[in-house]
Symmetry: C2
Subunit: 472 residues, 2 copies
């Protein structure tokens, strides 16, 4: 999950209130679905409850491909994997659309406290960071409790120092702590460099207490010196804080050897598969996830989960006796982690078609149980959303009274371009224990939750594709 | 925690039944403690509830020393640290007793699946393992579900193979899964080598799903080829199993570069501190822990926890207006992890004094809440144990009806030499998530639980040292 969209997404979640399901009785209208379609919705639920297809897809992707950072060997393999799987699963059309960018290679990360008390620390380079050179660098720490404190430091006050930001991410069902913590990761290096620092080290943006540091994208700014940037695992950040409590002069050695060849343009691709609509094939119900991952772990939660859900949901709909009226388009975006490159390219490639995107939803929020749905649709479509909510309520999903949702991650760009959107919110309590770490592996996928989520997206897609509702 | 004693300890725990606290009313006898002593027991509890001394000691040891494998720089530092701290805490006598052994250095560990689907795996060398050489070795996997299945393989059937044992340790409050899993770690390499294998790889003896592999001691046998031995983290063992499900021919690359210089005799030491008895100074109430740790993490749970508890418990007793009647001896054993070397040396050094060890208890079982106490004393001492249990019951400790306990870890050797013993059993559910891994760090110490445990050991030591009871 990439930074900007997460922030926006979480903001929406955080301001949502408890659903007023009693309101539903006041919204009397003709049902959107026919009795036969309702029967098919039931049939879909039953089928998915018995199927482990979405799990098998995630198992296959993580076992046979593994991680898949933009431009890497795994990235290429995952594109082939997705095309073949979609074809085998009975999609009517499957194609790829090229996405270009750079291939950042992680290299090595080493950090150790030199004095007062030598200790090896677990560190990881932030995504996109420059290196320290093979020899590494050693400097005293300048400690700040958060990004605001760093911003408040006098200009040029940090010459030659390694800035350490020790802010700890809050653990919360909505994942709201991410918004408050991720600024240090994305923007900390620029601020630190502007004040003369030679490197940035942050406490991981993560809620676990494993010695597994969290990576994620960081940014430089034109005209500001690029300094190396890394994160420490939570226990290692604790160690540094505890030594700083004893004395202000703590000396740290840092070595990062990432590499990007600016002359090489890496190629990736959005992978797109469709179940073609029987009545209005040009009208698109878009469901998506991102196919890329960070180069740590196997990208099982982020976002193998979404990939498996969307492919399985569309497959189960394709297995019904007839095609839905509208087209269901599964978009597996490239290069989300490194800056929504796939989504940006999709916006270019499908500019003229954007008006045909009837409604869309992405999944990029790990493996927690979905408990809430929020719409972002035209007012006239609200009764239809209320009807959809009736089908999802037995799965534990409450309808938020708000109607300001954007879709998650990549698809937030489509939302902003006017696509009506749904946002399904999970229990995000555990997600940031594993997010962007080596621990993002298959065992973190909770199979009952995966079935719930797959069912929800299948019912949503079926409902939207078979209704004549204008969601704008 | 070392293997053999753990196994014995857990066996005792596993066969214990629910305590029959109602029995206590039948065991009427004159109280062991005077009213003044009872008041001092209360005072001790109150003091410890307000003190964070045991936590501060663990924080100091882990922050200022860190890990401390037999023979390492950390080992030396920890001995100095313990002597100074005991002196500062008001112990009447503090001294060290030399312990000799070898210094095994871990080096590097790399493992990757070469085919069918290349994946990097997280591995760690088992303690004492030989290396693969710098070039590493590549071989096909021979997969066994447990040690028994390996034992059942035909002789010479594994020529040139890397044996992989995928047995998963059961998670249980008593830690009983350890006994069933640890045999593969300790003895697997010998069995595999006898059948021609070139290396051993096991699923970590651990109950977590972090990509953090668990180390621990392994053994070779005179006359059997020494082969390299490593463990994989649980998610990495899953990966290997999932590839083996697809095809039997899975090729693994393994590189381990540990090193032991057989010519160098490493020196460590047991660190001993006493609160000298006022009436019977030669009678010893022994409380202990081990000072060494594995060379991963900072040895906070294993066994910084025990070190902090014992030092704090003795200190709080030393702060009372008068010395206890008997001597309280805190023994911080050297080199427990690599084979109870400190305990073995203690048995040699204190052979003639063994009869003066009135009773003893060690702590080497992590940071869970203590819920049970089991005695291993003479029958005549049972009423006194019942009285002790009355003081500990408000802390959540039930008295086991069994009377067959040995002390934990190092002190099990003293128990076997006839020392009456107590064994306090904690909730061990989480211990093996972190045991022998990089994740054994300060944040895993639960402070309320630490206070409970410190209080229990202080009350036990005070009670035993102030009673005239013969526990034999």
């Amino acid at each position: 999950m990439f930074k900007n969209t997460r922030k926006r997404f979480i903001k929406n979640l955080a301001t949502s209130a408890v659903v007023l399901s009693s309101c539903m009785s006041f919204l009397v209208s003709a049902d959107v679905l026919t009795q036969q379609q309702k029967n098919e919705m039931n049939s879909l639920s039953t089928t998915i409850a018995k199927s482990d297809l979405s799990y098998q897809l995630i198992e296959s992707l993580t076992t046979e491909v593994g991680h898949r950072l933009m431009g890497s060997e795994g990235d290429k393999k995952s594109i082939e994997w997705a095309v073949k799987k979609m074809q085998a699963l009975g999609f009517d059309k499957v194609w790829t659309e090229d996405v270009h960018g750079t291939f950042w290679q992680r290299g090595e990360a080493k950090a150790k406290i030199i004095s007062p008390f030598p200790q090896d620390l677990v560190a990881i380079a932030l995504g996109g960071s420059v290196g320290t050179g093979e020899q590494g660098l050693t400097a005293n720490i300048a400690h700040f409790e958060n990004l605001a404190a760093l911003k408040a430091a006098p200009d040029d006050s940090l010459a030659g120092k390694i800035v350490f930001i020790s802010h700890r991410m809050e653990k919360h069902i909505t994942g709201r702590g991410y918004g408050g913590a991720v600024g240090a990761r994305v923007g900390g290096a620029v601020i630190a460099a502007q004040k003369g620092a030679s490197a940035l080290v942050i406490r991981s943006v993560g809620t676990d207490n494993n010695r597994t540091a969290h990576t994620g994208i960081m940014r430089y700014k034109e005209g500001v010196v690029k300094i190396p940037a890394a994160s420490l695992s939570n226990p290692d950040a604790d160690m540094l804080v505890n030594q700083l409590k004893r004395q202000a002069n703590v000396s740290l050695y840092l070595k990062l050897t990432p590499h990007t060849d600016p002359k090489v343009i890496a190629k990736s691709a959005n992978v797109i598969g469709e179940i073609t609509g029987s009545e209005s094939p040009n009208e698109i119900v878009a469901i998506g996830a991102h196919l890329d991952s960070w180069d740590v772990g196997t990208g099982a939660m982020d976002d193998g989960m979404g990939v498996g859900m969307m492919m399985a949901a569309a497959h189960h709909i394709a297995q019904l006796p007839q095609r839905p009226k509208r087209t269901i388009r599964v978009i597996l975006f490239a290069a989300e982690e490194v800056g929504l490159l796939g989504a940006k390219q999709y916006m270019v490639d499908h500019k003229d078609e954007m008006k045909n995107h009837i409604i869309g939803a992405e999944w990029d929020f790990g493996t927690g149980q979905i408990y809430k749905m929020t719409s972002g649709v035209g007012k006239n479509a609200l009764p239809a959303i209320t009807e959809l909510a009736k089908y999802l309520q037995p799965l534990g999903v409450e309808l938020s009274p708000e109607n300001n949702a954007v879709a998650q991650s990549d698809m937030s760009m489509l939302s902003e371009a006017g696509m009506p959107s749904m946002n399904f919110a999970p229990d995000g309590t555990l997600y940031f224990d594993y997010h962007h770490t080596e621990n993002d592996t298959l065992d973190k996928i909770d199979q009952p939750t995966l079935k719930q989520a797959t069912t929800i997206y299948a019912l949503f897609a079926y409902f939207a594709a078979n209704s004549g509702v204008n969601f704008r």
